[in-house]
Structures are given as C-alpha cells and as structure tokens.
Amino acid sequence: MGSIALHTLPGRLARLSVVAVIGFLILPPLVVTIAAFNEKALLSFPPERLSLRWFARALTYEDFRAGFWNGLIVTLWASSIALAIGAAFAFALDRYEFRLKRTIETILLSSLIVPHFTIGLGFLIIAAQIGMARGFTVVVTAHVILVLPFVLRSVYVSLRNFDRRLEQAAESLGAPPARVLLTVTVPLLLPGLVSGWLLAAILSFNEFTASLFVTGQRTQTLPVAMYNYVREYADPSMAAISVLYIAATAALLTFANLYLGLGKVLNVEQPR
C-alpha cells in the first residue's frame, strides 16, 4: 500500500524524473570537471588530451590569489558579524515581546526579496555620497546584510526547538543567568550557530552580484576576479577553479556534517 509499483506508467514517470533531476544536478559539475583537464586553451568538450596546466595557472594567477584572500577576509568578517547580530535578534524575537517586533523581523529578512544588485548598487551610491573608498568595510557591510536572513533563520529555528525547561532546571539548581547561558543554552544551540555561520560563509564567499558593485580593484573577491577573467580569456582555468571550489566546499561540508551531524560537539565529555 502506498508505494508505486515501478512497472506502471506513473512508476516509470517517477523513476524517469528522479533520474533526470539527479542527472541535471550532476551533469554541470561533471562536464566542468572534465573540461578542466583539457590540455588546449579552449573550453571544448570532450578534451582530446589531458593536462593539469590550468590548475597550475588558476593557482598562480595573481588576481585569483588576491581574490581568494580578499574573499576569505570578507567571508570571515561578514559571517561572524552576521552571526552575532542574527543570534542576538533571533534571541530577542524568540524570547521577548517588544514594539515593532514584526516590523523589525520583516526588515531583517528583507534582503531575501531585494535583488542583490539593488543592495550592491545602493551601497555603491551611499559609499560614494559619504566619500567612502570602496574598501573592505563597504564590502563586509553589504555581505552582512545579504547573509543576515539566513543566519537569523537558522538560529531562530534552533531556538524554537530548544527546551526552555532545561534553562529552568539549571536556574533551579543555582545557576545565575550568565552561567545558564554558557553551560546550557550556548552548548545546546551550538549546532544551530555553527550551521548558521557555515551557511553564511558559503553564501558570502560565492556572492557575486552585489560584490561586483561594491568591490574595487584592491578588494575584489574571487567570483568578481573570475568574472573579470572570463571577459578576457576563455581557457579552462575557470573550470579548474570550479573544481577547486567544489572540492573545498565539499570538504568543508563533510567536516561540518561529521562535526554537527554526528554530535561530536556534544560528545566531547564522553570518555568512551
């Protein structure tokens, strides 16, 4: 009962659509990965001879190196600041009643509906108006705004699922509010905080549209550097960077999943 027999027509359609979805998910990175190993300076497919030269180029090209480090700086700052602000607001939204609560919540989540180029353009105009150089401050600020909704959501959801009686239990046992926070609330919310931070970091590191407006030559992030590159060249070093990108993100997520999913955070005290 309930399961679709696979030989019936709906069954076949279901199977076909699953295969199609998986295919379209896997195909682009697969094609790009193969293209990255092309020996020729063309993004042709399939490659005739294989080579690692584009990986070497991607890793040594000065703009990419600078873009990587710029992106890393922006990402670390933006996701950490967004985590602090997002967690504080998630806390307030979950626990307190205050005036304009709904309005503030809407504003905090609004960058979900405002296009990234609008935010980028807005920051560009503001920065120009107040005579601010296109330094890291502007880039980081724009990124904080962009990733804030995701962090806020992530922390808010874990707060909603948090059993407040655990805090009451700690309090009844003599723990003052600050120690309740440090010994019970934060440790138990850690998975939510870390996953919120990770989500923000990945989004920020990949962000292109707004970054295009707010970064300058000195502050351009990796996606912007890549965009500038493809305007001049069409060789497989883009594909090579993509492969590095995917590998790095996958490694990060695998690590995080081990760390969060298997509850390693929570089991540090366990002797066995």
């Binding site: 009686r165 046992l173 003599g174 138990l188 005290e269 366990q270």
Partner: protein
C-alpha cells in the same frame, strides 16, 4: 514576615494571585507547607497547579500576595538564589552532560571542590539506587533511570523545598507505583518539605501527608488524604476524590445536627454540615461512596431497586453496576469486598441498593 506561623512553615503563600491576560490562573491563594511535609496539589487540568508551583520556584512572579520560603519573603529573590530542588515532568536532564555532570551541576554552581562534588554525587546516586551509569548520557538511559537521575540532581543540593510537577506521568503504571513508594521513602528519610503536583487522585491519596484540592485557580480544601476523602469540603472535592455516586433525594426532616433524607423508597441520615440553610422539602444530592452501599434482594422500603448492569471482578473486591430507573442518574456503582459476588449478582438480576452506613454526605442540589 513577622507572623510566627509563616516562619514555622517551609513554604508559605499568602493571598497569592496570578492572571494571564483575562485568565485568572490563581485567585488569592494561601497555603502553608510544614517542614518535612509532602503536600500534594491535586486538581483537574488547567486549575493552576503548575502556576502555583512556578510561583514558588520563581519562574513566574505573582501579581499580588507574598511567597516565603523558610520564613523569608522571596517575592523578589530570583530562582537561582531560592535554594529549591525541582523535578520536571520531562525530566529536563542536560542532554550534553553525563549523568555525573548532571547530578553534580548544582554543586558546581555552588562552587564546591571537585572531590566533594564527586563524593556527594555518589551518595545521591546510592540514594536513588542508580550507580555505575555515571559516564552515560541521558539519551542512553531508560525513562525510569532518567527519572532517578532527575531526582538525584534535585536532591543533591539539599534544597529547602523539593518541587515536583507531575514527575511520574510519563512512566508506565507499575513503574509509577514503585517510584511513588521510593519517592515517599526518600522524602521521609531526608525530611524535606515537598510540593508534589498531580492530577491523579489515587497518586495524591497514597503519597501525601496533606493535599490541597484545587479547581479553577482556587484551593477548595486542604487536609490529610483521609480528611479530604471522608469529609470533603464541597461538592467539587467530594466528586473529584475517589469514586462517588450522586443520588437525588429530598430532605424529610431536620433536627440539631442531622438531616433525614428520603431516597427512593427509603431513608438515610446525613450530617447538616453542608445543609445549614436547608428546610424540609429541599431537594438534595446524596454523595455516597461505592463502599458505603451494598446490595440486597429487592424488597419494599428499599431505597433503590434495579437490575445488575455488570459485575466486574477486581481482585480484592467486586464492582457491581446497577441500572436504577431514577431520573437524573443512570447507574449506581457498588463496591463489594471479597471475590464471591460475581456469580451472585449476575447481569440482569433484579437487585436492591441499600445504604451500609447510617450517615452519608448531602449537598443542596447544584445551581
């Protein structure tokens, strides 16, 4: 607080009230818990038991009135300074800590040295008969084991008062029974004043030194289980505690302390406690426990007659349900001691219901 009554109480509430918006969860309630006493708050869902407990714990602040613990007014004392021990229905064990860390948490917060904590935790685990699991996480324990850990955690800090909110409601029946006995043993051994919340009246009757019966934010009666059972203060308490049959009757005559009430074709005596302003001819409800009536062959002059609806063998006693054709009630529950009754009062047999005591409870008809 100045009164000596308050200072000799472990916990004392004086005209405490609490509303949530339009809902009056607790109405000007006063209650004293004596040192070493196990006081049960008993009442139906939503009557304000948890609200009262949370006010004592300091999780809620009262709108009006005073709360004192061991004679000290605590209205403005935060929970963490009240020196209470609390056990929650959901246990609320810290999932990220071991059993040892859970039980030792309160001592750590008090700044006790680690070696002392370890020793005291061991003692507490001996007390709840649960050693050898110190390194486990709560998720690796059964419900009953978690229960004991929660109790040990609340007791190890030697609180001034132990607060328990329906602690056993998640346990299966047999485990609940043995935990009740153990809790009572431990509580008596430690002599710790305890407030125990439940909506299970048999739990309240078996566990309490005294109980407070609540309904709709009001304490209806405070007394020992026997007092509350035998001498309920009002209709609500009479019908909430224990099984009871409510049988319509009419006052036939009154003298000093007693009323004679006509029930069906018979009579029964009642104390006038709850019939102060009644006159002959007043319709009343007679409240009679299943063990206060018995069965006989149907005769004239027998209060009620009817047919056996069902006979249920309950081990030590037999419950017989009798269909009586009286307006406003359908069946009467009769509880007969001993096992031999099932065959005698078979379904459909004509039967008479007679009072086995000469004084029952009667209240004026509700309304």
């Amino acid at each position: 607080m100045s009164s000596s009554r308050a200072s000799s109480s472990a916990v004392s509430l004086n005209a405490v009230s609490k509303s949530f918006g339009a809902i009056a969860a607790l109405k000007a309630t006063s209650l004293d818990i004596r040192p070493g006493e196990l006081m049960t708050l008993l009442g139906p869902s939503g009557c304000g038991k948890t609200t009262l407990l949370n006010i004592v714990a300091g999780f809620l602040s009262a709108d009006a009135g005073d709360v004192a613990i061991e004679g000290q007014r605590v209205n403005d004392v935060p929970t963490f300074q009240r020196q209470i021990g609390m056990m929650f229905q959901s246990y609320a064990l810290f999932p990220h800590m071991t059993v040892e860390a859970n039980v030792g948490y309160g001592l750590k917060m008090r700044g006790m040295p680690r070696a002392d904590i370890h020793r005291r935790v061991q003692d507490a685990l001996v007390l709840v008969k649960l050693q050898g699991l110190e390194a486990r996480k709560p998720s690796q324990l059964s419900g009953g084991q978690q229960q004991r850990i929660a109790l040990a955690r609340a007791l190890v800090i030697e609180p001034k008062v132990l607060l328990l909110d329906e602690p056993f409601s998640a346990l299966d029946k047999s485990l609940r029974g043995s935990m009740q006995i153990e809790l009572k043993d431990i509580q008596r051994k430690l002599g710790i004043a305890t407030i125990f919340v439940t909506h299970d009246q048999s739990e309240a009757l078996s566990l309490s030194d005294r109980l407070a019966v609540m309904s709709e934010g009001v304490i209806r009666q405070v007394g020992t289980p026997h007092e509350v059972y035998a001498d309920p203060a009002d209709r609500f308490v009479a019908s909430f505690i224990g099984d009871v049959n409510v049988i319509p009757g009419v006052i036939e005559s009154l003298d000093d302390g007693r009323a004679t009430i006509r029930v069906g074709n018979g009579h029964v005596g009642a104390s006038r406690t709850h019939l102060a302003d009644a006159a002959p001819g007043t319709p009343v409800d007679v409240f009679v426990r299943p063990e206060q009536i018995t069965l006989a062959a149907p005769r004239e002059e027998i209060p009620l007659t009817g047919k056996v609806h069902a006979s249920v063998f309950q081990g030590g006693h037999t419950d017989v349900l009798v269909d009586v054709g009286v307006e406003g009630m359908s069946t009467v529950l009769v509880r007969l001691a001993g096992p031999a009754h099932v065959a005698r009062w078979a379904k459909g047999a004509p039967v008479g219901v007679v009072f086995a005591v000469d004084t029952v409870l009667a209240f004026p008809k509700s309304g």
